[in-house]
């Protein structure tokens, strides 16, 4: 660091604006303080984030961990062909997309609803308390969240107790929620909402806060009630934010998360809980089938890359048009 300091002292002239005829290297030397402050991290990012791409070659080989990279047998797209004819992989793909869509739709509807509800609260202390509490689950780890969900859904958990109290089930008819495969998606959706709904309202509440209060006053004078104001002023006011976030989220269609499915999954619900990330983990770490695992993760990354890039450019275009 001392070294760095000494160097920066001689580089104080960098504040001059670069002139066209100055050569690139001259500028580089002149700005060596900035270079020293950033290039080590560029090297870091190349090693840790770009270098692993080299490993994608494994998907096109019949990888045997005992052999060196150059001794591996090349097999072309065989692993990809295997994947797309593999029933398990197609099932996993279905689970991934369905859970992503559940996350997307439920996430948006609940967060926007909660933001609208909070916006109607006039008592600031109450509003702030609800907000602060609603952020809490977002900061808990998924391990703790999974523990909580397992507890409340257990045979002797509070949900079964409640059902018994309401007379919906009898003693001895307790439901093993996490043991019923078909219900996993619902449990997943509820868990995601529980954990994230408060957090997701932040951006909507901020968008609502910048709506011109004059609009509400004008609407009031015209005799608009609470719901008409919500429908005709608040929702249109945050429409841009909703659209942009929706498009961006569609970009993450194959990123349905890993932790909730992995931590809440078990032998009884695996046909519904296993998603792409778990598939990659199972083949890679448990079955040591590196090639197939890498092929699956390449598929995921490439599709995600295309979706996210497309989503970003669409969002940007809409954002520009709508934001005047």
């Amino acid at each position: 660091m001392d070294n760095n300091l000494a160097l920066t002292k001689t580089a104080t002239s960098t504040k001059q604006k670069p002139k066209g005829r100055k050569s690139f290297f001259k500028l580089l030397v002149q700005q060596r303080a900035l270079v020293l402050m950033s290039i080590p991290f560029v090297i870091w990012v190349i090693i840790f984030k770009y270098l692993p791409i080299w490993g994608w070659a494994i998907a096109f080989q019949d990888y045997k961990p005992a052999k060196s990279f150059w001794e591996q047998e090349w097999v072309g797209f065989e692993h990809f062909k295997f994947l797309f004819t593999n029933e398990r992989f197609l099932l996993v793909l279905r689970n991934t997309i369905v859970m992503s869509l559940i996350n997307l739709v439920l996430g948006f509807v609940t967060a926007i609803s909660l933001a609208l509800m909070l916006n109607e609260v006039r008592n600031m202390a109450f509003k702030r308390t609800v907000q602060t509490i609603s952020y809490m689950p977002y900061f808990l780890s998924w391990v703790v969240a999974a523990g909580i969900i397992q507890n409340i859904l257990a045979v002797d958990g509070v949900v079964n107790d409640l059902l018994k109290f309401l007379g919906l089930i009898e003693e001895g008819e307790e439901i093993l929620f996490l043991g019923i495969g078909e219900w996993f998606w619902g449990i997943y959706g509820a868990s995601i909402v529980w954990k994230n709904v408060g957090w997701n309202t932040i951006v909507y509440l901020a968008a609502i806060a910048v709506i011109d209060p004059g609009l509400y006053e004008a609407a009031e004078i015209d005799g608009a009630g609470r719901f008409r104001k919500m429908w005709h002023i608040t929702l249109p006011g945050i429409r841009n934010v909703i659209i942009v976030l929706l498009i961006m989220n569609i970009g993450y269609l194959l990123e349905s998360g890993f932790e909730p499915q992995y931590l809440l999954g078990n032998g009884m619900n695996i046909d519904y809980s296993e998603n792409l990330d778990i598939f990659v983990l199972n083949y890679g770490i448990r079955l040591y089938n590196y090639s197939l695992s890498v092929a699956a993760s390449i598929f995921k990354t490439v599709v995600s890359f295309i979706l996210i890039t497309a989503a970003n450019s669409i969002a940007k275009r809409i954002g520009e048009v709508r934001l005047y």
């Binding site: 700005q31 900035l34 402050m37 950033s38 002797d156």
Partner: protein
Amino acid sequence: MANGRRQKRKKRIGRMSVGDWAFEIVNHTLLILLVIVTLYPMINTLAVSLNDATDSLKGGIYLWPRKFSLENYKFVFQESNIANAALISVLRTVIGTVLTVFCSAMVAYTISRPEYVLRRFVTVIFLLTMYFNGGLIPTYLLMRNLGLIGTFGIYIWPNIIGAFNLIVIRTFIENLPSSLIESAKIDGAGEFRTFVNIVLPLCAPVLATVALFTGVWQWNSWFDVFLYNSSKEHLSTLQYELQKVLAFSNASMQRIDFQAAAAQGASYQKVTPYAIRATMMIVVSVPVIMVYPFLQKYFVKGMLIGGVKE
């Protein structure tokens, strides 16, 4: 006519109509319900953790302990591995957060300088990492080749700079009055001095946000422990220890099963996996719950800066 209408309006503003009252009641009830659904599981877990372990097996503990006992906490903290795991959790959180905040801010500062020739190159090379990743196995092989598996470094080195943090801090710096940075330069301060003495203190709000996100992320991580260090007891973290307990007491199990298990193992007379699990959930969550409310105003702002510019 117009007069009458105005009077009517005044009335409506002054006193709430029946519909308004109904709405207020429904709205507040739903929000209170949300608070209950959010808080109840934590309160229940706290009650179980403070209750006598064998007594908890009878069930029926909701909001407060029935037979108060600190045995569970005593057991958890005397279990040497958990005390050690807590130390590793604290270390990775503190070191990881400090390093991430400082390094992210430094790189963000360089790409916020309009005159920097490599500005675009550095920005793009970091931004691109938001769109792809090498995947599980290639990353694993890289870590093995770097010799990071089975070391504490695996928690720190791969996570120094995140593209999102970088953009958030850069946007914040760009919105600072440029005269402050200019005047420091005129006074003869170099880039690094300007960064440390002028920019870093001014960035405190956004750095608080990044520190919170990074700290929570580090504290809550368990997958890297599972993947890289599961055979190294001394490098285990609290979250991973809890994950192991959860995996052991699978969802299908009931307290009754634990009772049988407790009856078999003589060493588990005072505590049960069910109680240990609740106690660890509290131990792991309390630091996070204590910290985030105080940083609320920062992270709300920080989220929005990130949202504005991609």
